[in-house]
Amino acid sequence: MSNVAGKAYGMNVLTPVPPHLTWVQRLIFMTARAIPSTLAGLLGLSLIHFARWVIIKRNQWPQGDRGKPTLKNDYVLFCSNFNGTWDQYIDAFSDGIPRGLDLFWYASFKYPHAIPITAFKNYITHNQFDTGYYYNATPGSAQRDIKAALKVFAELKSLGTRHAALDAKSFTSEYNKALARVQNCLGSPGYAPIASLDTATAEQNRRKFLGAQDRNPAPRAALRAKKSAPSPSTTTFDGGHCFLTVLLPLKTCEVVDHAGMRSSHVRLLREALAMLPTAHQSGPTEATPANSPFAESSRTHFARMAVIDDAIYNGPVPSDTLYAAARDLVRGTPDGAVIKPVDQLPSPYLLFSVDCDAGNEGELQDYLCELWERTSAELEPVLVNCCGFKERVTGPDEFATYICDHRLETTMPFNDYWTQAPPLKGLSGPMLLLAMVAAGGLWGTCLYLALNQLGIRPDWSAGGLLSGVGLAVSSIIVALYAAYLLVMMRGRRPFPEAPNSDLKSVLKALYVQRQLIQFAVAQQAPSAPDLYGAFGGFLNRVQLTNLDRPTQAPGTISGIIS
């Protein structure tokens, strides 16, 4: 079990939200998406590969084997794949975009605000739950490294198409200019600095438990053609990626005999997660022959499985002291602790969260079927501990259906693999105003005419005044509601796909970047003909337009598929 996979940290935070405020939180997320300039600060930090906020309404927890969950609160689940240390990450938000942070946790109970930092870090620590299994397809490359590689890839593709048509002297000039444009994008991949001595030690100690058997990797199929389908209306799909969030209830009603011990499904699931090989993301894991089963997939950027033991509780929200004291006085009740109900989940859940390349429902089905085809042997010992799995999942299609049945809508997805400022158009002020005026005006006019028919006119009499005020107030409400609907509708629209942000292109870009570094180091001030010829050889070797090979292998620091 580790929250760290190469250069990424997988953070999971669950915060309770009072049900009457959930719509406000949702509106905040949709507003951020509808007016994307609000995300500028987040994009600028360049710390996050993929992140998501998921609103889980209290009736959305799937039913396990202990009856329907009865919760008082809604919850917000936050899953992030970020770079840097835990402290650095939170420091960056607190120092950089504290108000944005406060907005995204606005409705959560007893959220302490991002400044000062200690209370905030304590809150996150309290509400964070560990990742039981974490997969990173690009463990040797942080988000910045990926963006750098994508810039290099784009630059080289352009240079590659022009190579044949140029003479040696012109090519040298073009090459120099191209290299200068990406001169700050030539960082080499490698291991992450250790997150802590303890993480390093734990990873070292895990090695001997992971066994020596290698897998027989299934032959790799070519990337399936993207099926055209209508643009999805759920924010689970965004920017060409699927932010799949799945909650699977764990079996709790039976004990299981396993390895000579009486055990429980929850125990077994945790153990199965602990034994699942991770990506080849560090010295100790590279020495383990088996790579993660998710490395079989060429569409899985990140995947994680985490056990949610219970709803996370932050303590009761106290009522206003003066009010409570006054009430005590009036009723004659003494001081003392008031017991308020604590939310509890009837059984633990497995959170299964994937950031993959799937732009619509059809592609997601395809992805899930392929995942099962390739990894059922590894995933089955884990998932068999979830309710209904054994009975229902008999093949890839059944797996896809099972997963989708337990799917939640990802409320607010976030991914930034844009090499330039992303072209995100939002609602403009004038447009919003126009909508409000139109809606409010239309309603006001209709109501006025209707009232007129009934003989009621706004004037200075009591009845007239009332109708006048009613007209004005209801028009304003309608206008606000129109704005609300517009923001919600616009917020649901998926963002455009960042070029080359699918995993195969990312891996190719990382491979190409590494090759270019070697090439550039070797070619310091060559003669023009030498450079021209050498670059031709380079193009031949790296095959820029072939995403299948040669390229970087998923789940490795710098492994190559040749």
Partner: protein, 516 residues
């Protein structure tokens, strides 16, 4: 607003460095054998510990003079093991930061990865046993002899006597040949019959020019504000901040415990607060410099660089050295003077100026590509200023360290000779400030968009170490890339110390530390 600091309670060398006025240093490490005797030693020795009370004016300080200039200025630091040996309460010890409890040796993988761990085989023998107490003696220089004033020997003798009396051992095993203490001395220039210290280190760079400035450091708000130019924090231009007024002193709590820090809170520290208040943490790292290797590498790279750019070998050497560190050897910053011509112009313009402000007053906002000062140069890695968001130093303010280091040994071309820098740094949080810079900015390149590339001057060398000298994309030149950079700096031992306030020293000496 800022509180006036209790200068009599704070150890010297924190607010104002010792090395400028006291160019000769001697570090002794002590081992306690008996807790009560150890406490008695602390109680007796604390009278000699130099405080932050001022003994002279400068253009930055016009406040009251409240102390006499000592001939030898003294610091006293404690390791975790030392505090344990002195019998401090369990609750106090358990609430100290975990990196301080670990000690520097255990933190090798964080500070320098596998390489630093492997390099521990070459640490001085003094580190074989846990160190408890550090005594830093900083002596005036006798300009006639180029040696320390005789009071240094006197203080050393006094210390030896006191240690013997209280059953402390002065730990031997510093350097080669074995010595009972680590001597260090600023590099001296000889002008006829007088010696003068210069703030240079063995690679030939003027060092220690820029240091963070914090509230209360120079006695009043105006002085702090003046010194903060180029050294404090950079505020975003806004309603209350005019473009020419962007520099401000950092919060005191970044460098002294018990005061509000840049996160707008007084950060938690071990209990009781009275033990930690006005104290700070000290990093001691003996860094050997491979001078010969460095000069040879620069010379070799300079050949290629000179040829490509039509320069003389000397010019190329100077330019490469400047690109690598971010400053020309005389400390002129490349961010202000990127070319040799600019460098000469800078020196002409600022000739004879008393203050160092021109050397530190700059930002990187107009150099986001690192054409003037490479993004991965040593100086820019250690203090990125406004590089991260181009509007302020907001993401850097909580990652600054005070540097108080001194060179040791003589400058020779022999890499096996004993010479280098005793690197000393001070900060309120070892992990958030020093360790972060060391692990994330020196030995890693993420925040510089440089993947795993390390600092070309002091960084690790696992893998194919490289350094890119960025060029102006309009120039038509290709960037110059160094590869297979050899290791210039090797760690020869170090530790984390706590520099207690004078009040804390008394409490420790009396044995009355009580977190209840």
């Amino acid at each position: 607003m800022t509180q006036t600091l209790d200068l009599a309670d704070i150890q010297g060398n924190i607010l104002q460095d010792f090395v400028s006025g006291y160019p000769v240093a001697r570090f002794l490490f002590l081992r306690i054998s008996d807790a009560a005797q150890g406490r008695a030693f602390i109680y007796a020795y604390r009278a000699r510990v130099t405080t932050a009370l001022r003994w002279d004016h400068s253009d930055a300080y016009a406040g009251p003079i409240q102390a006499e200039r000592p001939k030898v200025a003294i610091n006293l630091g404690l390791t975790f093991r030392g505090m344990l040996a002195l019998g401090l309460p369990t609750r106090t010890l358990a609430s100290l930061p975990s990196e301080f409890i670990d000690g520097m040796r255990a933190r090798a993988e964080i500070l320098g990865g596998e390489e630093e761990r492997a390099g521990q085989a070459r640490w001085d023998k003094v580190w074989d046993e846990p160190v408890h107490i550090m005594i830093g003696l900083n002596a005036l220089l006798d300009p006639a002899t180029g040696e320390a004033v005789p009071e240094l020997t006197q203080e050393t003798d006094d210390l030896q006597r006191l240690c013997q009396q209280h059953k402390l051992t002065i730990m031997g095993g510093h350097g080669t040949p074995d010595s009972d203490w680590q001597d260090a001395k600023a590099i001296l220039e000889q002008n006829k019959a007088t010696y003068k210290p210069v703030p240079r280190e063995h690679f030939g760079f003027i060092d220690g020019i820029s240091n963070p400035v914090f509230e209360g450091q120079f006695g009043d708000a105006n002085a702090d504000a003046m010194m903060a130019v180029g050294q404090g924090k950079l505020l975003p231009v806004g309603d209350n901040v005019a473009p020419e007024n962007r520099w401000a002193p950092l919060a005191t709590g970044e460098f002294l415990l018990g005061h509000p820090d840049e996160a707008q809170e007084i950060p938690g520290c071990a209990q009781p607060v009275s033990l930690m208040r006005n104290g700070t943490f000290l990093v001691y790292r003996k860094l050997h410099e491979n001078v010969g290797r460095f000069n040879a590498f620069i010379a070799k790279q300079a050949e290629g660089y000179a040829r490509i750019n039509g320069l003389t070998q000397d010019e190329a050497c100077l330019i490469l050295k400047a690109k690598l560190t971010g400053r020309w050897p005389d400390a002129v910053p490349t961010a202000v003077a990127p070319t040799v011509a600019d460098w000469k112009a800078f020196n002409q313009k600022h000739a004879g100026e008393a203050r160092d402000t021109p050397y530190v007053d700059f930002t990187y906002a107009d150099d986001l590509d690192g054409v003037k000062c490479p993004i991965t140069s040593h100086m820019r890695r250690a203090n990125p200023r406004d590089s991260f968001d181009n509007t302020s130093s907001g993401l850097i303010n909580r990652r600054r360290i005070l540097r108080r280091g001194v060179p040791y040994g003589a400058t020779t071309e022999q890499d096996s000779d004993e010479h280098g820098i005793i690197f000393l740094a001070m900060c309120a949080s070892l992990s958030r400030q020093f360790e972060f810079i060391q692990q994330q900015w020196i030995n890693y390149g993420l925040d510089a968009n440089a993947g795993n590339d390390t600092c070309p001057l002091v960084g690790n060398r696992s893998g194919d170490a490289k350094f890119v000298l960025a060029v102006d994309p309009q120039s038509g030149q290709a960037p110059f890339i160094w590869s297979n950079i050899p290791k210039f700096v090797e760690m020869r031992g170090g530790e984390y110390f706590f520099l207690p306030s004078l009040t804390a020293l008394r409490m420790i000496g009396m044995g009355t530390v009580d977190p209840t």
